[in-house]
Structures are given as C-alpha cells and as structure tokens.
Amino acid sequence: MKFEKPATTNPIDNLTVVGKPIHRIDGELKTTGRAKYAYEWHDPDIDYAYGYPLGSSIAKGRIRSMDTAAAKKSPGVISVVTALDVGKRDLGSKNTANLFGGDEVQHYHQAIAIVVAATFEQARAASALIKVDYAVGEGVFDLSTATKDAKKPKAEGGTEPDSSVGDFEGAFANAAVKLDATYTTPDQSHAMMEPFASIAAWNGDELTVWTSSQMIDWWRTDLATTLGIDKEKIHLMSPFIGGGFGGKLFLRSDAVMAAFAAKAAGRPVKVALPRPFLVNNATHRPATIQRIRIGATRDGKITAIGHESWSGDLPGGQPETAVMQTRLLYAGENRMTAMRLATLDLPEGNSMRAPGEAPGLMALEIAIDEIAVKLGMDPVEFRILNDTQVDPEKPGRNFSHRNLVGCLTLGAEKFGWNARGKPGTKREGGQFIGLGMAAAFRNNLVMPSGARVKLDARGDITVETDMTDIGTGSYTILAQTAAEMMGVPMEKVGVHLGDSRFPVSSGSGGQFGANSSTSGVYAACVKLREAVAQKLGFNSQDIEFANGEVRSDNRVVPLSQAAGPEGLVGEDTMQWGDLEKTYQQSTFGAHFVEVGVDVATGEVRLKRMLAVCAAGRILNPITARSQVIGAMTMGAGLALSEELSVDKRRGFFVNHDLAGYEVAVHADIPHQDVIFMDETDPISSPMKAKGVGELGLCGVSAAIANAVYNATGIRVRDYPVTLDKLIHELPEVA
C-alpha cells in the first residue's frame, strides 16, 4: 500500500481499541523476569561457550603483533580469535568505524580479540593474558581546537549542511535587539540498561544470531557485509531489547565477534560487552559547540536568526545535526544555519535519541530565553509571537498540522507559569526557586514498514513483523492496530516481533517506529480483510469487522469460520508518497520545569515537570506517556549530570561505566505530568499519528537550564549545569 493522499475515514477511526489506555501485553513477561533478552536464550541441548572481548588500549595506530600463546593455554580456553586473524573486513553500510578485523586501530576499546572458553570466568581471565604490540599513532581528541580544521560535511539524506534565506548578516547587524552567544553540549552516552549482547550459532554456512538490535534488517545486512556471507544465510532474532536509544540502531561488535568466535570454536558462543568496555567500543552522541545569533525588533519580532554548530567524528563520519530545528521552529525573514565537521579520533559519534534536535534545542531554547530577557518579554509570549504555520525557509510549504501555540498556552496555564518571579528573587527555605520553560520540536519521520497478519481457525490473529520493541510499546500498539482493523478483542491478538524471517519493518528509531509500523500492520490488515471478503464473496467496500465477526448487509460470519481450517493471511508493506515533501511534518510540545537550587551549594533539584505534546493521534496514552516521561528523565540527566569526560592526551572517555557517567536516578526525578493535545494528523499516515518517543527529550534540558537561571540569575551555557558552574555566582543570602 502506498500512502499518497491524506487519510480519510478508515476503521482505525472507530477507536474501540486504538487510542485506549491498554496495559502492555508483554507486561507480565517483563515483570516476572520471563521475557528473554539476547544473552538469555538457552537450549538445554546446546553447550554454549563464552566469548570475552579485548579492546584496544590505544586510540589510534596499528597493531604490530599479538601474542595469544598464554591465553590459549589458559584453563578452559577453546579458541582465541584476533583482529589480525580475521583480517580487514568490508565496512557495514551504517558503520563508520570498523567493528572487528584488521591491524588498524581507529579508536580506544576498538575490539581486537575475542577469547572463547567453556566458562565466562575462564574467558575473562584469559583475555587479560593477551599481549599486544602497538605502533601508536597521533590522534586528535579535543573538539575545541579541532574546529579550526573543521570542514563543511557532505549532504546526507537530503540534509544540506548549510541553509540561507534573505540577508542574515545585514538584518542581524541592523537589529534593534541582538543576542550572540555560544553554547556547548558534551559527548553523551546512551547508557541503556542491557549491554550489547549476542549468541551466534553456525550450521554449516548458515548463521543464527540472537542479539539486541533496534533494526533487524540493517543489522542483518551489515552483518552479512562484515562477515562476507550472503544475507539470506543469516537468521537474526531480537524479540526483547533492554533499551537502545539509538545505540542499537547499527550493527555492533558483539554480533561480529560472536559469529567469528562461534565459527572458530565450532559451537555456539555467547558474547556480552562488559559495561566498562561498551562506552568506548560503541557509539555516542558527539559534543557540539553552537553559536546562535538572534536579532529582533523592539516589540519582539525575530528579524534574523542564525545557528552554527561544530562537532567532530572519525574520518568518514557525520555531523551532529544540531541546527536542523532552527530552520523550522520560529519565524523570521533572514536566516542562516551551518554545520561544520571536525575530524576526531574518539570513538564513533552517531545517533542518540533525537539526534540533532536534542543538543540543538539544548542551545536554541536557552538562546530564546536570553533574547526574551533582553526584550523584557515573557518567554512564552515571545515564542507565541514568533510562531509560524509555514516552513520559514520555504514559505509556500505548510506544516501538516502545527499547534505549538496550543501547547505553550495550555502548559503555561496548567503549570502556573504566571507565578514566576524575577531571576534570583524567590526563596523557599534553603533553596532558590525558579521556573523555566522551552519549546519542544522534533520532525515526524516515516519509514517503509511491512507486516504479515494471520487469521486462524480459532479466530485468533497473529501479527508477524521484524519490528522491534525497545520499551516503546510496539507489542501493544501493533496488537491494538490489528484488533481494531479485524474487529477482535486484544486477547485474540498475538504479536511476534524482531525476527528476520518476518516482513521488514521500519524498526525502532527516530521516533518513526510507532507510526510507521502500525501503518504497516494497517496495510497488512487491509489485505487480510480483502482476503476474508473474497473468501466469503462479500463486497469488500461494504463490510464491517466487529466483535469477532464479519458482516455485510444481513450476513454475519464469525472470523473463525471465515478463516476455515487453512486460515487466511494478509501481508503488505506501507510505502510513503511525497506528502512529507509537500508538507512539513513535525511534532510540537512545551516543557515546564520548577527547580530548587541550594542557596549554599548550588545543588539543583527538580521539583515539578510538565510536558504538553502535540503529536497527532496518541495510539496508547499509557505507553506514549511513558515515552515522554522517560525522555524528560533522560533530559534531566543531560541537563544536570551527563557528560563523557574526554582524556585529551590518550583519547578516550574516562567515565565509561554507570558510576562515572551519571544518569538520573529515582531521587533526581519528581512526579512528572504529561498532557497530549487532542488532535489527529491525516497527512501523516492512515493511523493519523506521529512520533512521540523523542519529542519528550527535545527542549526539556533547556527548560531546566532556564529554570536555574530564573532561580539564581546565573546563565550557564555549557552543559551539564553542575554546581561548580553556579557556586561562585550564587546570589548573596541573608
């Protein structure tokens, strides 16, 4: 099915199941510990061996030689496979750094060996016995100095690095009120709870891999490339994923090492990356330096807006696209954005939840707060004044649906925004109190997505798609979609995900998963409805599926009977026309935060958080809300504590575990409120939904930084907002 025209009325609009607050269908499995993650698929007839990785202890250079003799003699060791043994491999299409193979070292903790032993303990002990002789190369590790050699990156996926409309320089120079400020965001880590893990088993030239992947087909394709085998020979499964946040979008080293190790050992091998290894081994969100210039009239209209961003990556890598939202979020006739990419020899930079917008809004939404202060305007009012209903770079192009103003207005009212005082003036006990807010913005992406839907003789529906559930609620919303389309209750629907034998789906990323994959199930259900109608000789235009029955005129047939002993199958892939080009499709929101800042120490505590989101139809308010509060929680970490510290001499992230890299914990997070605007977006998909999984992260960190400013009068432009950046400037207290 191809979605080429805005949706009209369809069976989803019945909303008997879709849109309802239905608890997760995988909830009992997860809360009882029965959900099986990658490392946990156990067959009692197979004696698995254990693989333990070794990472490079240099950031750049070459391996001259590796002495594995002691490791091989170590108790229980079955095999040792080194990067030199497997040799240089073809690079997966989505990877920047080599995952395993060859003598070149591109970054610290790049995988250089896998030790296979009968037990985990034996493999771990033996891995420490490998001696490596390196030819150490010179690397570049400091973004702040590498920017002088930064280059304009090539346009990727239609994303031009630069944009320009009108005369930015002239308009900015002549603006009555101006802001010119530079902001920095540090390198950040996904830090999902389940480490990268794979079990690999060979049968002749066929390979089965249980892994933890957000994108089954991307992994399968790139694993085939890396191993140099036919993709059809690989069966990949990832039915449960212990978090990803973008870290598991692209093939990782655990799957590659497990495959080589299993081949060498002649038996299935389990590999999990140890926590202190995975931060430097895998990808991270790159640090940015962002310069924002805004010019406005005295009555608060933006006349010039410019956003430049510098980030770094390995050779062949990509920029962090931090300027993208600035092309779309606010009005203003004269505009410019630019991205520049420096070469750094740190681990690979790549997508982390809301790539581009998350760090971009961390900067932009402080800048908007700052110019509002300069204008003496309320920041909510300033944002409303500068709203746009068209793409400001291409004014002939409308947003499919845009209700940012509604989010701002409702949020301000519900949060009690008018109680906000002047900076540094409100005190309760030992804390300065401040309110802050920011706009949320994230584009709505769609991806082709396939599914197979089976109806059996019991009237049960089974959905099969290689879609993944990374905590997002895919199992539940896909079941809701199938239940709505086929007119059956939830308990008659089973959902099987994350298996490369199933139709290729959108996968999970870029907040495209829910809208795309439910649309794929919608398309497959349309096919199944047609098959039912055809079998019964019904006119498929005039047919109703409800209560486990199918009816047309006066005929009513139970689905179980329609299926017959053979059952019926519908399979299709949702393809997308050019509605995303004709219209700008985005999601919107507003974040409101109250903080308390300790008057003596500068410690920041969150007191209240509210997000108002406009993201089309909400398919399940329980799972959608959890996506938003989860993103708000991640945003609290990014605002207040998360920072990968770079060792600029040796070129690695020093705090590479969960003790050193501080994500938010229970004690950091207050009660969180989320309000969804009641809306649909028929231009987005037949589901009339949009993405929401990343929207909650967009802007929230800036709202916190702005609240800290309101509490203390201190403007911190370098994340995270830690107390050392506050303590010397705190207001005097009586």
Partner: protein, 211 residues
C-alpha cells in the same frame, strides 16, 4: 491460548539441525574434561535454596551469585546490567535482605535462601508489586524491572522494619512511606527508560493497600 509474544526458545528458531547439535555436545564434553583435569582446586561445591528449591552446584570460585543464577540455574530474570554494583538490575533477596548479586561470589552463599524475581510471581499469578508495575507502567524495556521490583518489595519491608535512610528526618520517629523515602531507597536501581515517576506510584499503591 494464544502466545502473545515470543516466550520460550524453540528448536524451529534455530537453523541448527539436530545433527549439528550433537556435534556441539561432543565438543562441549571435551572442554569439560579439560577443566576437571586441571582445575579442581579452582572450584567449590555450594548448596543454596533458590525460590524454595534446593540446588547443589560445583562452581568456579570466581562465579558471582548473579552468574550462578543466570548461567548455571538459567534463572535469567535477574539481569546483568553493569556487573559492578552500579545499576541494581541484579538485585535479589538473600536471607530476607536485598543485595546486588553481581557483587557477591556464589560460594559465599552456602546454605542461604535466595529469592529471585521468578520466586515472586509468574504470568497469570503475579505478586501485588508486579501487578502494580503493570498497572502504572513502571517499566518500558523491562531490563531493569526485575531488580526494581525486588528492590521495591525490599524497600517496603525496610521501612516497615523502621530502618532509617538518608532522608529520614527524625530518627526517633517511625520510618514512613513517603515519596521522598521511596525515591531515596530506590536510587540504587537505575532505569534508563526513565519510568521512575510511575515506579513511585506503583510502590505507593502497594504500600497503601497494606496499610
């Protein structure tokens, strides 16, 4: 009953044929012979009860309680998130107190009674805390969830036993179930999906129903 989502491993999931499986088994046998020939002194016998069931194991002395549960007893509900006591995903109850099972060796637990997430409930017959987690959506990816639930149950027991925490204001008063107490006592269990606000609601509900 329809299988709502993949549950147990099934042989049809493997491309591996039964002949290939037999080959694995024979390789495995050799590897085991090699260990037992040279390494007897590196292993110990240990017996403990897990979820009411007695287990006698011969384990490498380096095997953590976590790996004994996961890799030897195949109780994989207890999760390995960091293996360094930083995340809480491996929380289990040992003789009535919660511990990070990654930070303790299995051989230290001879004679102990251990309760894992599998001991608290099963699909169709959940513990009240598991019910509350589902109801309040106190999880997303589910990987930290068994640890969160074990800690949640322990936290209410600790407050009931009047054990103070960092945020307990008055040590002469009886400890009470407040949001602040729950958040403080749960802070050893990281949830990167960020379900904290919902988890606190789940625990509060279970605490309230007991009162």
């Amino acid at each position: 009953m329809i299988e709502i989502c993949p549950f147990e491993i099934s042989r049809r999931d493997l491309l591996v044929s039964s002949a290939a499986t037999a080959a694995f088994a024979s390789v495995a046998g050799n590897a085991h012979a090699q260990i037992s020939g040279n390494e007897m002194q590196q292993s110990s016998n240990v017996s403990f009860k897990v979820n009411g069931e007695e287990h006698a194991l011969e384990l490498d002395n380096r095997t953590t309680l976590l790996d004994a549960l996961r890799e030897h007893l195949h109780l994989t509900g207890t999760k390995k998130g960091c293996d360094h006591g930083q995340c809480g995903a491996c929380t289990v109850m040992v003789d009535g107190r919660r511990i990070n099972s990654c930070l303790t060796l299995a051989v230290m637990h001879d004679g102990d009674e251990i309760t894992t997430i599998e001991g608290y409930g099963r699909p169709g017959n959940l513990h009240p805390m598991q019910v509350a987690f589902v109801k309040h959506d106190g999880f997303q990816c589910g990987y930290c969830t068994p640890g969160q639930i074990c800690s949640s149950i322990a936290v209410l027991q600790e407050i009931e036993a009047n054990i103070p925490s960092h945020v307990t204001g008055d040590l002469t008063e009886k400890a009470s179930v407040t949001s602040a107490e729950i958040r403080e006592r749960m802070s050893g269990n990281i949830c990167r999906c960020g379900a904290y606000s919902n988890i606190v609601e789940a625990i509060t509900e279970v605490a309230g129903s007991k009162a």
